[in-house]
Amino acid sequence: MIVLDLFHYWTFIALLMMGFYTVIAKNNLVKRLLGLSLFQSAVFLLFIGIAKVEGGTTPIFTNLVDTQVFSNPLPQVLILTAIVVGISTSALGLAIILRIKEAYGTIEEDEIQSEEEEA
C-alpha cells in the first residue's frame, strides 16, 4: 500500500503540473482546453484516491465477496458530478473556440491579439 500511496500521490502532482503548465504556457486554444481537462483529471484522481479503503470493495452491496469493508462512496459521488461539470466546460469552450476560429481565422492566442491590434 505504501508504494501505491507514493505513486498515486506523485502521479496526481505530476498530472496537475502538466495540465496547469499547458494551460498557462501554450498559445493554442485547443491545447489549453486539453490541458484544462488534464488538470481536472488530476483532481479526480486525488479524490478517488481518498475514497480507497484498504481491503475494501466497491460500495455496491453484493454477496459475491465476503468482505464487509467498503470503500468510501462519498468522494466517488462528488467526482461523478465533477466529471460532468468538466465535460460541460469543455463543450462550451470548444464552441467558443469554433467561433473564434470563424471570427479571426486562427486559434493561436498571439495571432488573435496581433490581429486585434491591427484592426
Binding site: L33, I97, R99, I100, A103, E109
Partner: protein, 492 residues
C-alpha cells in the same frame, strides 16, 4: 410555505429556465424571465425578516440533516447578497429589453434568457448553500451561464475575452475543489458548520492551511482580486451592455462572499496565525487593486472599459474592508458591496441606453449625448458621484465607514488612508472625463434616437435609490452590521 422560501429562491428561476427555452416570441420569453426574476426578488425581500437578527434559517434538502445531506442556510449576510443579485437581475431586465434586442439576434433571445435565468439561479444557489461542494456545483452553473451571456453580443472581441475568462474561471473552480478535497481528507465532512466543529480536533494543520490558500486563490481568481484580474476588463467591455450591468453588479462579489463565509467560518478561529496571514496577504493586494484600477481607468478610452477598470478598484475597497478583520471594516465592506452594485448597475445600464445611439464603444462616440438625453445623463452622473463617494450618496456612506475602520488600526492607518483618498481623487478624474464628453461637446446632428421611456424611468429610479440609501441607509446598514456580527461570531 414560508419555511420553503430558501429553496424556492433557487428553484423558481432554475425550473423556469427550461420553459423559457421552449418559448418562441422573444418578447414573451423576456416577460417570463422578468416575472421570474421579480418573483425571486420578492422572495429575497420576504426573507429579510425571517433571517434578521443572529438567527439563521436552515433548510435540509430531501429531509436529510446536515452533515449527511445538503442544507441551505440563510442569514443576514446571505440575505444582503440575495437582494443584490435578484435586484440587479430584475432592474437590468426591466430596463434592458431594447438594448438586448439591439445586440442579440431575435431568434436566439430565448436561449439567451434561459442562460440568464440559470446564471441568476446559480448565483443565488451559491449564496444560500451551506455545503462546500454544493457551492462548487452552483458556482459552475453561474460561471457557464455567464460565459454564454458574455459571448452573446455582436462584438467579436468578446470571444477571446470570454475564452480567457473560461480558462481562468475553471482554474479558479478547480483550485477551490482541491482545497475542499484537502479539507475533506482531514475532516471527512463537507458541510461548512460541521467542518468548523471538526477542525479544532485536527492535529496537523499544514494541509488545512494549504487548503485555505487554494480556496482563497481560487476564489480570488473568480473575484478578480488584483493580480488575478486579467480576465475582467475585456469581458466587461465587450459583453452585451445589459450583461455587463448585471454581472458588474453581482458576479465578482459572490466570489468575495464565498471567500468571506468560508474564511471566517473555518479558518479565522481554527488556524493559528491565520488572522495575520489573511491581513498580510490581502491588504497589499487590495491597495494595489485600488490604485491600479483607478490608474487604468484614467488611461482607457473605451467607455465601458473605464468602468470595468473601476470595478477592479472597487473590488479592492471591498477586500480592504474585509481584510481589516474588524467589525467596522466588515460592515464597510458589505455596505460597499451594496452601494457599488447599485452605482455600477446604474452606470452600465445608463451607458447601455446611450449606446443605443452611440456608434461604437469609444468614449468619443458618446460626445454630446448627455445634452440630447439629459435624463439618462443625470442618472449616470448620480451613479458616478456615488462611485466617487460624494456626501449624500450610498457610496459616500460606505467609504466613510471604511475610513473610520482604517482609523481604528493601530499602525499603518496613514498609508491606507492615503491610498483611499488618492484613488478617490483619481476616480474624480476619470469620471470628470466621461461626464465632460457627455455634456460639453455639441450633440451629433445625425441619427437621433429616442431612448425608450420606460427604461429611462427605471434608470432614474435606481439612480435615485443611490441617493435614498445614502440618506436613509437603515436597511442595508442593519443587514451589514448583523452580517459582520455573524461573521466575527463564528469563532466565538
Amino acid at each position: 410555505m414560508l419555511s420553503h422560501l430558501p429553496i424556492l429562491q433557487i428553484v423558481v428561476p432554475m425550473l423556469m429556465a427550461p420553459f423559457v427555452l421552449l418559448i418562441q416570441p422573444a418578447r414573451l420569453a423576456w416577460a417570463l424571465t422578468l416575472a421570474t426574476s421579480t418573483l425571486a426578488f420578492a422572495i429575497a425581500i420576504n426573507l429579510i425578516p425571517l433571517a434578521a437578527g443572529d438567527s439563521a434559517m436552515i433548510y435540509p434538502i430531501g429531509g436529510w440533516d446536515a452533515p449527511y445531506g445538503i442544507e441551505l442556510k440563510v442569514d443576514s449576510l446571505s440575505v444582503l447578497f440575495l437582494l443584490i443579485i435578484s435586484g440587479a437581475s430584475t432592474f437590468v431586465l426591466l430596463a434592458g429589453y431594447q438594448s438586448l434586442g439591439s445586440e442579440i439576434h431575435e431568434a436566439k433571445l430565448n436561449w439567451f434568457f434561459g442562460a440568464w435565468l440559470l446564471a441568476l439561479a446559480g448565483l443565488l444557489g451559491i449564496v444560500v448553500s451551506a455545503d462546500a461542494f454544493n457551492i462548487f456545483v452552483f458556482m459552475e452553473i453561474a460561471s457557464l451561464a455567464s460565459y454564454i451571456l458574455i459571448a452573446g453580443g455582436p462584438n467579436r472581441q468578446a470571444l477571446p475575452a470570454v475564452f480567457k475568462y473560461l480558462i481562468m474561471g475553471t482554474i479558479g473552480a478547480t483550485f477551490y475543489l482541491i482545497g475542499v478535497g484537502l479539507i475533506y481528507i482531514m475532516t471527512g465532512t463537507l458541510n461548512i458548520s460541521d467542518i468548523a466543529t471538526k477542525l479544532p480536533s485536527v492535529v496537523d494543520q499544514t494541509p488545512i492551511l494549504v487548503a485555505a490558500g487554494f480556496i482563497s486563490i481560487g476564489l480570488a481568481l473568480k473575484a478578480a482580486i488584483f493580480p488575478m484580474h486579467a480576465w475582467l476588463p475585456n469581458t466587461y467591455s465587450f459583453a452585451p451592455n445589459m450583461v455587463t450591468a448585471f454581472l458588474a453588479a453581482c458576479s465578482t462579489k459572490i466570489a468575495i462572499y464565498v471567500l468571506l463565509r468560508i474564511d471566517f467560518a473555518l479558518f479565522q478561529s481554527n488556524l493559528t496565525g491565520h488572522l495575520l496571514q489573511f491581513k498580510v496577504f490581502l491588504i497589499p493586494l487590495a491597495c494595489m487593486a485600488i490604485l491600479a484600477g483607478a490608474y487604468m481607468a484614467m488611461r482607457d478610452s473605451l467607455a465601458k472599459k473605464i468602468f470595468a477598470w473601476s470595478s477592479v478598484g472597487q473590488v479592492g475597497y471591498i477586500i480592504l474592508g474585509a481584510a481589516l478583520v474588524s467589525h467596522s471594516g466588515l460592515t464597510a465592506a458589505l455596505l460597499h458591496s451594496f452601494s457599488h452594485a447599485l452605482a455600477k448597475g446604474t452606470m452600465f445600464i445608463g451607458i447601455g441606453l446611450l449606446a443605443l445611439q452611440a456608434k461604437s464603444g469609444e468614449l468619443s462616440s458618446f460626445a454630446g449625448l448627455g445634452r440630447r438625453h439629459p435624463l439618462a445623463a443625470i442618472a449616470i452622473t448620480i451613479a458616478g458621484l456615488s462611485l466617487v463617494g460624494i456626501p449624500g450618496t450610498a457610496g459616500f456612506l460606505s467609504k466613510w465607514l471604511l475610513i473610520q475602520a482604517i482609523l481604528e488600526l493601530p499602525t499603518g492607518a496613514v498609508a491606507l488612508l492615503v491610498v483611499v483618498l488618492l484613488s478617490s481623487l483619481m476616480s474624480v478624474v476619470y469620471l470628470a472625463r466621461f461626464l465632460e464628453t457627455l455634456f460639453f461637446p455639441p450633440a451629433p446632428a445625425e441619427g437621433k434616437v429616442t431612448l425608450p421611456l420606460g427604461a429611462t424611468a427605471i434608470l432614474l429610479a435606481i439612480a435615485f435609490a443611490s441617493i435614498y440609501f445614502g440618506l436613509a441607509p437603515t436597511l442595508p446598514m442593519e443587514l451589514a452590521t448583523q452580517a459582520a456580527d455573524n461573521l466575527l461570531g463564528y469563532g466565538a
